[in-house]
């Protein structure tokens, strides 16, 4: 029921002035491939090349998704924090605070914050270590694929006392291929609201498994599916009617936030994602996830043991 509504909302977007050019790219690609015809091998190659994945409610070739997501985040980077507060009415701060408290890191913990972007988790983690343990030996590597988001993060940390310490490293990297990170080197791996933007979730999970030490913890904060039907209908109404409008008003970019709410719908449900985590080899305790705010967000956790 939601897909027709989503597409119904999309149609005016495609025809209107759009900052993103994905629709143009998509049509161009499709028209070029339709020209290859008879050769069987060429057709097979076409099928391989055109392995598609979801970009919101659209389907795009896998190789394009990274670029398109990159465009989205480059556009929203400067207003990312403001929009988070506006869209979630500040509740995302509570989620992230609870996330850090669940992690409850001890002194000297090494964190790899993937898709860390503007650094909410990193900030929370360092503050927790300082306030609860009086510890300044905790280390964080903040990794993000998008240089613009990293820049915003860097500026933010420059205004805090942490810029004089060597506790944070900023790195550009792809979560699917952490080539700059050696194996068995981190205590905790976190990815907050980032994994649904990745093209190959299983590769992200395998890389997470690789870089963690034995006993290390994988933690993922992500949007989930709401089970309660009343809350679910209110939430969907809010997501599809209000959030893109907020995006237009505050950040002048409706399409990026349309992508955001669509990508939430496309992400696997909590139990399916937990299965993927288990399949990678992580040890999962009890249910494996914890719902926040009726399942709007969920904390997934796995251990490398």
């Amino acid at each position: 029921m939601l897909i027709p509504i989503g597409i119904g909302l999309l149609r005016p977007l495609i025809s209107s002035k759009s900052r993103l050019t994905y629709s143009g790219i998509f049509r161009g690609f499709a028209s070029s491939t339709s020209q290859r015809t008879s050769d069987k091998q060429a057709i097979k190659k076409d099928d391989e090349k055109e392995a598609e994945t979801n970009f919101g409610f659209k389907y795009v070739p896998e190789s394009m998704k990274e670029k398109l997501v990159g465009q989205v985040f480059t556009n929203v980077a400067s207003k990312y924090d403001v929009m988070n507060d506006a869209m979630s009415l500040g509740i995302h701060r509570l989620w992230k605070d609870y996330f850090i408290r669940t992690m409850a890191p001890g002194p000297g913990t090494k964190l790899l914050d993937v898709a860390g972007g503007t650094g909410d988790i990193t900030m929370g983690f360092l503050n927790y270590c300082k306030e609860i343990h009086g510890d300044t030996s905790a280390q964080v590597t903040l990794l993000d694929i998008n240089p613009k988001m990293l820049d915003v993060g860097r500026e933010r940390f420059n205004k805090t006392p942490y810029n004089q310490t060597s506790q944070i490293q900023f790195e550009i990297g792809n979560a699917e291929n952490l080539s700059t990170i050696s194996s068995n080197s981190f205590d905790v791996y976190t990815i907050a609201f980032g994994i649904r933007n990745c093209t190959h979730i299983d590769r992200v999970l395998s890389e997470a498994y690789r870089v963690l030490r034995p006993g290390g913890r994988f933690m993922c904060l992500e949007f989930g599916k709401v089970q309660n039907p009343i809350i679910s209908s209110i939430y969907n109404l809010y997501s599809f009617q209000i959030i893109p409008v907020l995006g237009q008003v505050i950040a002048a970019d409706r399409d990026s936030y349309q992508y955001l709410v669509e990508s939430i719908q496309r992400f696997p449900s909590q139990d399916k994602f937990t299965e993927m985590i288990k399949d990678t080899g992580f040890t999962v305790i009890d249910k494996g996830w914890e719902d926040l705010t009726f399942g709007i967000a969920a904390i997934h956790s796995g251990f490398k043991l």
Binding site: M103, A104, G106, D187, G215, R217, G281, I285
Partner: protein
């Protein structure tokens, strides 16, 4: 209550296992530490077997849990029954401190494991030592053995009692106490099959828990005060038990005569 009876039969099985060392393969003896406990049944996911084949883990999962918990016990006198003890325990084994997340309920999981582990240790230690003693001596020996395991943590035991008294944890703490007194009576050779089964366990539960409570504030050298307290309570029960039995009989006679008086007046149901 069926679980308690099942527990008695499991002790019998353990007794058979420890005695027939000659044929280990037939009885599928497992190493002492990797005994299954009810918590691990929930924790192990279906992929444990494939996990074992991954390069990092040759050790079964419940063994890692037990190891971390055992290592955490040595930190309890300093940090109490809390997540800090678990973090330090994990650290001491080379795991990062965030491994305490393996125990999502925190300190209470450490307490529950300690209770389970102590109970099994008590059973294994006493299985062969009960010969030639009278019943009340056996009970006394069982209580003393079990109290000795709490001794190193006596200063922090009141914290554990407070945690166990929380509404979330009350049910499991009562279960642990029930299993403990059941095992003690089974070791003492209790064969009762009537109301006595319940009264014996109830009274022993009261004795044992009050003694443990006494221990938390005992400052006598080597807890001699605690063991004296235990002896006094056991003597009380011995006299009291007899008195209760007599009162029981008396009340029975009174009730029967009352029923008879009423019947003579025509009140009550008559079987015809």
């Amino acid at each position: 209550m069926e679980g308690l009876i099942g527990r008695s039969s499991k002790i019998m099985l353990q007794r058979i296992q420890t005695k027939s060392i000659i044929k280990p393969n037939l009885l599928n003896l497992r190493p002492h530490r990797s005994f299954s406990y009810s918590v691990s049944a929930k924790l192990i996911n279906s992929n444990v077997e494939s996990n074992e084949q991954k390069e990092t883990s040759r050790i079964p999962l419940n063994l890692i849990h037990s190891e971390i918990l055992r290592a955490s016990l040595s930190f309890v006198p300093k940090y109490g029954w809390s997540v800090e003890s678990l973090s330090h325990g994990a650290n001491s084994l080379g795991y990062p401190s965030v491994s305490h997340g393996l125990f999502p309920r925190g300190g209470v999981e450490l307490i529950e494991w300690f209770l389970e582990d102590s109970r099994r240790k008590m059973v294994n230690e006493l299985i062969d030592k009960m010969d030639g003693l009278k019943i009340h001596q056996k009970i006394r020996l069982a209580c003393i053995t079990r109290l000795n395991y709490t001794k190193p943590y006596a200063k922090k035991w009141s914290e554990a009692l407070a945690i166990m008294a929380q509404p979330n944890n009350v049910q499991t703490s009562i279960e642990h106490l029930a299993k403990l007194v059941d095992d003690m009576w089974y070791l003492a050779g209790d064969k009762s099959a009537d109301m006595n089964w319940y009264t014996k366990r109830g009274s022993l539960a009261v004795i044992y828990s009050s003694t443990e409570l006494y221990m938390t504030q005992d400052i006598s050298p080597d807890y001699t005060g605690t063991f004296q307290f235990l002896d006094h309570r056991l003597q009380d029960i011995a006299t009291f038990g007899r008195v209760v039995g007599e009162i029981d009989t008396f009340v029975g006679f009174v009730t029967k005569s009352l029923v008879g008086v009423l019947a003579s007046k025509g009140i009550g149901n008559f079987d015809k």
